[in-house]
Every structure is written in structure tokens, then in C-alpha cells.
């Protein structure tokens, strides 16, 4: 056992670049997956805390649907299901300073009742006594923003009338002062609003705390029976289902990115292991010739893969935690009220991320390892192993069928099965493209031979010639295609909402636009307002998604550099032969650059075609339920394509430098 561990570690040390690339790809995938799980959990926890903060122990609220309906202390009957109730009155106001306007929602309540449900907390720790008249309590966020102190006079516009208030005290930014939208909430005495603003009801809302052992849902059902539903609306203050749905929406883009990252890891590990098993054939031959079974050889090779999976998975967690904190910090800043969203790290998320890393690593290496283990001993020992090539028509046929099924599947799948159908479709599209790329590359290379021969001379022709039936070139192209298509898909989905909103409002008379968290309740109320024709709830994706897309490019760059190095190592001999036939360094640079850029072009073209189909699938499965097709910006596709070409061109630098330093004789001698 010790010897095997030593053998594995020695192999990993000898091929440091390859080891680092495989570790990095597993690490990045597992950290992204971990972030995907944690983002939703963190967001959900923060939203629940905020909602609880705003409403305190009140789990149910009652509002009046009609202006004729009374809403006062007698509206809600005293039933055993209710532990405490507090009526609050709300009024919108505006504060301005130096030309800047801030919304201030005034809240007044019977303080005795309010203290039972959601006691306001003063920042200096004092209590609220003698709070009356034109006095106001403002949150510390507001007072520090506008330089307001206790005892100052502030003027607010209420229904366009200026009303002055004395700042009674400054409250901590929690309890009822917490907000989910822009602006500030201020507390004023109950009598003030009653005297200032003409409202038919005494209260705007009655908050209710359920009795011990009674759930919010039970209290809500009970009140709905007792209160006429055409006059009153009873709702839960914290809509758990809505929060969970919002959290799922937030984490969906990250799961999408994780999916692409995992796909890339699979490909990187699979292609690396194809090379590893080839490299190790002499050692495998030795093992088998001294009596090692197939199973033993397979286990040893898979054990190395397990090391990559475990190490990458375990290291991915602290990396993921760091990334999560950065993303949550940005998310919090992006919210109107700028709060800090604490990181919630679900243990199942950690376990699944590590397990995924191990499974991806093992499964990706399984096929090449199994093939190598099953080779006839004689062939391995004599070095006469030949890779059986499948006829091109077989792979093209499989690719076409797979692609067709992937395109059709999400369009015919029932709604309940849309998510799995979408996942299968995306995987199928990528797999079909991977199968198709070698034939496509050969076809394009044939055409390029003629063109390059004319434009770049014989070096160009030879560069294109080298791309035909060249496994390393097709691997580079495949890696590039996966990463660029991921970036295009994610960018297009993120950008769609912006263009959709501007499109919808084109030509319309836009009276108002509200942002922030809106639930079905709010939408229903707005729809009921007079004069409202259309209400359009949209979900805006976080900008951080675009940043996460750069993870994908990082992985691609790492994978491509690795492939280019492997390509160089395997082509050393061929380069040496070219040099012995008279290839100069300048000609070599020219050929490698032409080859690199051409591979980039082909990868970009494949990515553009496949990502177009991926975007259709994503919108069918997870996009908004609208009949308008996404109007895709050509700039996204072209920019991503250009990026791919730059990556392969830049990635050619290291092999070019290495071939310049090549000791010709060392490569030619076959000791």
C-alpha cells in the first residue's frame, strides 16, 4: 500500500503542471457548486431575518381592501389564537436636502401594543417615553446619511405639505426600521398621523402575533373565516414560500455556472487521463507482466484520480467560502438598504460539493483507465498498442441524433419534467458538439489548407495540415467551445432582462417604476389600483453572475494551457523532425500561432452555434413565461469568440518559447 501511495505521489510530482491543472479544475468546480448551495441558503436566511426584523413576532397582518372597511382595535376579534396585536398607521412622506429626495415612510402605532410585538430599539439604549406631538424617531442610517442629530428639526413633505418634526431620538437600524426597499422608515406618535392625514381607517394595518402553539397559517385561516374576504385581506407577514422561491431564483444562475464548470472538469480530467494512461503504458506493461491483475492496475490508476477528487473537493470549500463572502457582500450592497447578508453554510452543500468533486474525478478517468487496464499484456509489453479509430460517420451520426434529441426534448417535456429535461438537453448539446468537433475540425482544416497556402505560404498550409486528425488540437477546441458557450449563455441570459424591460416600456407612458422585493400580495394590490392596466413583475439577475462567468474562462484558460503544453510535449519529436528538415524558429512561431488562432476560431464558431441552442433551452426551462423570444445581441457572441482566439493565441506562447529552447539532438535520439 505504501509503495502504491509513493508511486501515486511521485507521478503527481513529476508532472506538476498536469497535476495542478487537474486539481484546479476540480477545485473550481466544487467551490462553484458549494457557492450555488450557499447563496440560496444565505439569501433565504437574510430575508427571513429581515422580515422578522420588520414585523417582530407578528406573523399575520390584516389590511382593508376597501376604503369603506373599518380597521381599528375592534376589527380583529379577540380570539384565543391571538397572543398580541398592534395596529399601525402608515403614511408616505418625502425628505429633501440639497436637491436630493428620500422617501420616508411614517409609521405610527400605539406604543404599548407595538412594544409587545416589535419593540423599537434606540441606538443610545434609552426607552421611548413622552413621545408625542410633532416628534419623530429616525433610524441611525438616515441620520448619519443626512447629518441629523437628536433635537434637530426636520421638515417632511406629507401630501405635498411641509410638516416640521423635532427629532426625539435615533433608533438602531432594526425592528420596524428595517427596510427591503430604498428610503427610510420613521416612527411618529399615533395622534400625529391621525390629526395630520385624512384616512378613513384608524389603522393601515393590524399586526398579530399567534398564540403559543398556533402557526401563522392556522391563525390566517382562522381570521379568513371570521373577516369578510371582500373587505379585508389577511396574509402572513413572512411568506416563507415566496422567500424560498426568491432564494431559488438567486441561486439558479450559479447552479447554471456550476453545471458548465463541472462539464469542463469532466473533459479536462478525461482528456488528461487519456494522456496519463498512454504515458504509463510501459509501467502498466511491467505490472501486468509480473502478475498484476486488470483490477489491480485499474485500482492504482483510479486511486490517483481519487486523490485529485478529494483534494480538489476539500480545498474547494474554503475557496468557496471566500468567494461566497465576496458575492454576498456585493449582493448586500446591491440591495437598496445596503445590509450585510451573513453567509449561511449548509452542511449538505459541503457534503454534496465534495462528493461531486470525487464522483466527477473518478467517472471522468474511469473510461481511459478501464481501457488501459484491459489491454492485452502482450501488446502493452511489446509497445504495439494501437488506438482503434471509430469511423467518422458513426460519430457524426451519433452527434446528429444526440443534438436533435437535445433540441426537441425541452420543447415537448411536460412542465413537471422541464428541469431534468433541460439538464439532459444541455448535456446532450455539449456531448453532441464534442463528438462533432473532430470531424468539423478536419473539414475546416482542409478548407484552410488552401486558403492559408495562398495567404501565409507553405507554413500556413502545413499549420492547417497539422490540425487534421490531431487529438490535441481537437481537445483544445473542445475546451474552448465549452467555456465560451458557457460565457455566452450566461451573458445573454443576464442581459436579456435589461433589454426586455426597455423594450416593453418603449412607446408606453410610464408613470412609475418600483424596484425591490415584491411578492404576489403586492402585485395583486397594485393590479387593483385604479388606472393600472398592466403590472409586470421581473426578476433582475445579479451583476455578480457576470463576474462568476469569468471563473469559467479561468478554467478554460488553465485547461487550454495544459492542453497546449501536452500538445507541445507530444509534438516535440515532430517539431524536432521539422527542424531537422530545415524549419527555422521564425517559421515554427508562424506555424504555431496560425494553428493556435485557427483552433480558437473553430472553437469560437462551435461555441456560438451551440450556445445559441443552449440559450433557447435555458429560456424554455427557467426563463420568464413570456412569448417574446430573446433578442440576442451579436456583440456578445463576437466578443466571446474574440476572447477565445486571444486565449489560444496567448496560450501558444509557452509552447513556442519551449520549442525555441529545444535541444534538437535530445529529441531526435531515441534512447
Amino acid at each position: 500500500m505504501k509503495i502504491i501511495i509513493k508511486y501515486i505521489l511521485t507521478n503527481m510530482k513529476e508532472r506538476k503542471v498536469r497535476t495542478v491543472v487537474m486539481l484546479l479544475s476540480v477545485l473550481l468546480s466544487s467551490s462553484l457548486l458549494f457557492v450555488s448551495f450557499s447563496i440560496g441558503a444565505s439569501y433565504e436566511s437574510a430575508q427571513q431575518k429581515m422580515a422578522r426584523g420588520m414585523y417582530g413576532s407578528a406573523a399575520v397582518s390584516v389590511t382593508a381592501l376597501q376604503s369603506a372597511a373599518e380597521l381599528d382595535d375592534d376589527t380583529v376579534p379577540d380570539i384565543p389564537e391571538i397572543k398580541a396585536k398592534a395596529g399601525i398607521r402608515k403614511q408616505a412622506a418625502m425628505y429633501s436636502q440639497g436637491g436630493y429626495y428620500e422617501t420616508v415612510d411614517l409609521v405610527s402605532a400605539n406604543l404599548e401594543q407595538l412594544n409587545l410585538i416589535n419593540r423599537p430599539r434606540m441606538s443610545d439604549g434609552s426607552g421611548i417615553t413622552g413621545f408625542s406631538g410633532n416628534q419623530i424617531i429616525l433610524p441611525d442610517r438616515f441620520t448619519s446619511k443626512f447629518g441629523v442629530s437628536k433635537g434637530d428639526t426636520v421638515t417632511l413633505l406629507i401630501n405635498n405639505f411641509p410638516v416640521s418634526f423635532e427629532v426625539f431620538g435615533i433608533a438602531a437600524y432594526d425592528t420596524l426600521f428595517l427596510r427591503q426597499t430604498r428610503g427610510a422608515t420613521a416612527l411618529v406618535p399615533l395622534d400625529l398621523l391621525a390629526g395630520t392625514v385624512q384616512q378613513p381607517q384608524k389603522y393601515s394595518e393590524i399586526l398579530l402575533e399567534p398564540a403559543d402553539g398556533v402557526t401563522a397559517g392556522e391563525l390566517k385561516s382562522c381570521l379568513e373565516e371570521k373577516l369578510p374576504q371582500d373587505r379585508y385581506h389577511v396574509s402572513e407577514t413572512v411568506d416563507e414560500a415566496q422567500i424560498a422561491a426568491d432564494a431559488r431564483q438567486k441561486s439558479m444562475p450559479f447552479f447554471l455556472i456550476s453545471f458548465f464548470a463541472l462539464t469542463m472538469s469532466v473533459f479536462i480530467i478525461y482528456s488528461s487521463y487519456k494522456v496519463i494512461t498512454l504515458d504509463r503504458l510501459p509501467v502498466i506493461g511491467t505490472f501486468r507482466s509480473i502478475g498484476a491483475e486488470e483490477r489491480t492496475v485499474t485500482s492504482i490508476l483510479l486511486a490517483e484520480s481519487l486523490v485529485y477528487g478529494l483534494a480538489g473537493g476539500l480545498l474547494g470549500i474554503p475557496v468557496g467560502i471566500a468567494v461566497l463572502k465576496v458575492i454576498l457582500h456585493g449582493m448586500g450592497k446591491g440591495l437598496a438598504q445596503g445590509i450585510e447578508i451573513p453567509a449561511v453554510i449548509p452542511l449538505p452543500g459541503i457534503a454534496i460539493s465534495i462528493a461531486a468533486a470525487v464522483i466527477v474525478s473518478l467517472l471522468s478517468s474511469w473510461i481511459p483507465v478501464r481501457r488501459a487496464g484491459r489491454l492485452p499484456v502482450k501488446e502493452v509489453v511489446l509497445g504495439t498498442v494501437e488506438e482503434k479509430k471509430r469511423p467518422a460517420r458513426y460519430t457524426i451520426g451519433t452527434a446528429v441524433i444526440l443534438g436533435a434529441v437535445s433540441i426537441v426534448l425541452p420543447r415537448i417535456a411536460p412542465e413537471k419534467l422541464l428541469y431534468p429535461a433541460g439538464g439532459i438537453s444541455l448535456l446532450g448539446l455539449i456531448a453532441a458538439a464534442i463528438l462533432f468537433i473532430p470531424s468539423f475540425t478536419n473539414f475546416v482544416a482542409r478548407g484552410l489548407e488552401r486558403i492559408y497556402g495562398t495567404v501565409f505560404g507553405n507554413e500556413g498550409m502545413l499549420a492547417a495540415r497539422n490540425m487534421r486528425d490531431n487529438r490535441n488540437v481537437t481537445q483544445n477546441i473542445t475546451l474552448l467551445f465549452i467555456s465560451i458557450s458557457a460565457v455566452i449563455s450566461i451573458s445573454a441570459v443576464g442581459n436579456f432582462v435589461t433589454s426586455y424591460i426597455s423594450d416593453i416600456f418603449q412607446g408606453a407612458e410610464l408613470e412609475g417604476f418600483a424596484d425591490g422585493s415584491m411578492d404576489d400580495d403586492f402585485i395583486r394590490q397594485v393590479k387593483g389600483f385604479e388606472g393600472i392596466e398592466e403590472v409586470l413583475p421581473v426578476q433582475v439577475l445579479d451583476d455578480r453572475v457576470h463576474g462568476e462567468g469569468s471563473f469559467i474562462l479561468l478554467m478554460a484558460a488553465v485547461g487550454i494551457v495544459n492542453n497546449l503544453l501536452i500538445n507541445y510535449m507530444q509534438r516535440r519529436r515532430a517539431i524536432a523532425m521539422y527542424k531537422s528538415a530545415g524549419l527555422s524558429s521564425r517559421q515554427n512561431v508562424k506555424m504555431m500561432l496560425i494553428e493556435g488562432v485557427s483552433a480558437g476560431l473553430i472553437g469560437a464558431a462551435a461555441a456560438i452555434a451551440v450556445s445559441y441552442m443552449e440559450i433557447q433551452t435555458i429560456f424554455i426551462v427557467a426563463g420568464p413565461k413570456i412569448s417574446i423570444k430573446p433578442d440576442l445581441d451579436a456583440a456578445i457572441f463576437l466578443a466571446a469568440g474574440a476572447m477565445g482566439i486571444v486565449v489560444t493565441a496567448a496560450g501558444s506562447v509557452v509552447p513556442i518559447l519551449k520549442s525555441r529552447q529545444m535541444k534538437l539532438l535530445e529529441e531526435i535520439k531515441f534512447e
Partner: protein
């Protein structure tokens, strides 16, 4: 050794080659001089490890001597830079390696013509010469085959760089 007059196709003057390894210096070549005239056929023979390959690599420009000089058609190649040396390999020198060392992605024609291709020539301009060479080595019907598609015995019959240099 026979004395020759006139410019030799290949000439080595007082070639020495030392290899340093494991702290020790081994003097593989100790002052070899020779001239090979145009049209001459010379065979270098010696015991295993005597430095035959080392001498050929130096005469062919693949390696540089520790001391001494090498002349191809009267020109000293030891001080040549990469561009000049590459041109010499394309135009003047051909190799047949022990283990074939053919370009796997190129077919028979292209492997033979490679030095000329690198010199910017077109295969079609040398069609006649190429057909002749393929006939001589018995690979006319395999001209479009890659090295993988040839049997082990057929591979060295390319003698690609040498033939290509002759054509040029």
C-alpha cells in the same frame, strides 16, 4: 584517408566533442578531420559508443563541436544562426534516422517534399521528380498514405530529407 583537391561537399577540420556528465568529462571525438567530395559514398564504421552518431550529427549541423569546424560546400556552418542553419538543412543536408522519425500528420509525398515546402516551393512544380523518387522506393501507390498507414519496413524508404534535398 585519400587526399582530395577542390571544394568538399562536407568537410570536418580537427573536430573534438566533449560531454560533461556526473562531474566527469568524456572526450568522445578527439580531433577528427575528413573530407567528403561531391558524389562520394562514405561509410563511418566503429564500435558501439565510439562516436559515429556524434560525428554525423556534427557534420549534419544538428550539433556543434567543442572545437574544430565544419564546412558545407566550403562554408563554415559552426557560426551560423538559426535562420542560416535551417536553410542549410533545407537545401543541402538530408537525414535518415534510425527510428524513421517521420511527420505523422503528413503523407508520403509531403514527408519527402517537406524541406522544399519549408523553402516555399510547391509540390506541383516538382511532380516529375517526385514521381520518379516514389517509383524508385516503390511507394508510388502509397503516396497519399500517412506513416501510420505504412508497414514498418516501408517507412525508412522515404529517406525524405535526403531525396528532397536532391530534388532541390
Amino acid at each position: 584517408m585519400k587526399e582530395h583537391s577542390g571544394i568538399a561537399a562536407v568537410e570536418g577540420r580537427n573536430i573534438t566533442k566533449d560531454f560533461v556528465g556526473g562531474g566527469a568529462v568524456s572526450n568522445v571525438l578527439k580531433g577528427i578531420s575528413l573530407k567528403v567530395m561531391q558524389g562520394e559514398f562514405v561509410s563511418v564504421m566503429g564500435q558501439s559508443g565510439s562516436g559515429k552518431s556524434t560525428l554525423l550529427y556534427i557534420l549534419g549541423g544538428l550539433d556543434t563541436p567543442t572545437n574544430g569546424s565544419v564546412y558545407i560546400d566550403g562554408t563554415d556552418i559552426c557560426s551560423f544562426d538559426d535562420a542560416k542553419m535551417s536553410r542549410i538543412r533545407r537545401q543541402k543536408i538530408g537525414f535518415v534516422f534510425q527510428f524513421y522519425n517521420l511527420i505523422p500528420n503528413l503523407n508520403v509525398e509531403e514527408n519527402i517534399m517537406l524541406p522544399l515546402l519549408l523553402d516555399g516551393k510547391k509540390i506541383r512544380d516538382y511532380r516529375e521528380q517526385l514521381d520518379h523518387i516514389l517509383e524508385v522506393v516503390g511507394l508510388s501507390d502509397r503516396r497519399k498514405h500517412t506513416p501510420r498507414q505504412l508497414s514498418g519496413g516501408q517507412q525508412p524508404d522515404h529517406n525524405r530529407p535526403g531525396r528532397g534535398a536532391c530534388i532541390a
